[in-house]
Subunit: 126 residues, 2 copies
DNA sequence: TCATATAGGGATAAATTGATCCCCTATTGC
DNA sequence: GCAATAGGGGATCAATTTATCCCTATATGA
């Protein structure tokens, strides 16, 4: 497993939330789990761009941070279900705010993201 | 300058907001600029853990994404001021939501972040 | 003359994150 | 026996992000 070499900054609230929410798929994982997609395979289908492996790793981190719990059913083939903890649930309105903002500004966002490379870098040979 | 080798995912709103807000210091930069700390040196003093260089790079990205504008005063020594664009200002309530959540849960967050390494990894030889 | 302040950037190294590949478990059904 | 199913993990590589180091410029004040 990867071992951190630097100590995280934990000065202000924004550092703290960064520690638990940074990770390419974490916000989506929380969101989809809240929506009822609780099994790993369901989550993979909802987030096909992420590899199985990375989702597992990020789910594990969410679990370590007590935002989700993992319940294993002792059946074959195995069955696992993730749920939000009460703590994790408090994040849902926050995520909703993020989602709402990006939905409202979707078009603008696409523009500014895709206009790369920036004007000064445009190569007229294209 | 670093050149991207993969194309970003832009499927849903959460991908989009990720594109503009990912970056260790970006949220803080937006927040402090909104608070009136507009000059690079002021921002550096507010965020001493970030190097000058990285702040410049992230400010540049915020500018490319039209969240801030950069005004250069032709004086010596040089003077530069960043301001939020109207677009950037729409993010402030979103950031406030993030900040509020993490302030409310500050103690809990510190706990779960610092309890690392997780129980199964604890080495009794310590 | 030299340090300070102010803003910036290139080159490069280090850290972190994400992706790929291949392997394991056990049962059911063909 | 072999494939499919469902969940998982080690090793390793690639991509990305952040940090470090050192350089530019000009004016002011000691």
């Amino acid at each position: 497993m990867y071992e951190r070499k630097t100590t995280p900054n934990l000065n202000c609230g924004l550092d703290l939330i960064g520690e638990v929410l940074y990770g390419k798929w974490k916000i989506r994982l929380l969101w989809f789990i809240d929506q009822g997609y609780q099994r790993p395979s369901e989550l993979q289908r909802k987030i096909p761009d992420a590899s199985r492996r990375v989702l597992n790793i990020q789910l594990k981190e969410l679990e370590d941070h007590e935002l989700v719990t993992r319940k294993i059913y002792p059946v074959v083939p195995p069955k696992v279900e993730y749920s939000l903890t009460d703590f994790g649930k408090t994040l849902i309105p926050v995520i909703a705010t993020l989602g709402q903002w990006s939905d409202e500004h979707e078009e603008r966002l696409r523009e500014v993201i895709l206009k790369q490379p920036v004007s000064s870098d445009i190569d007229v040979r294209n």
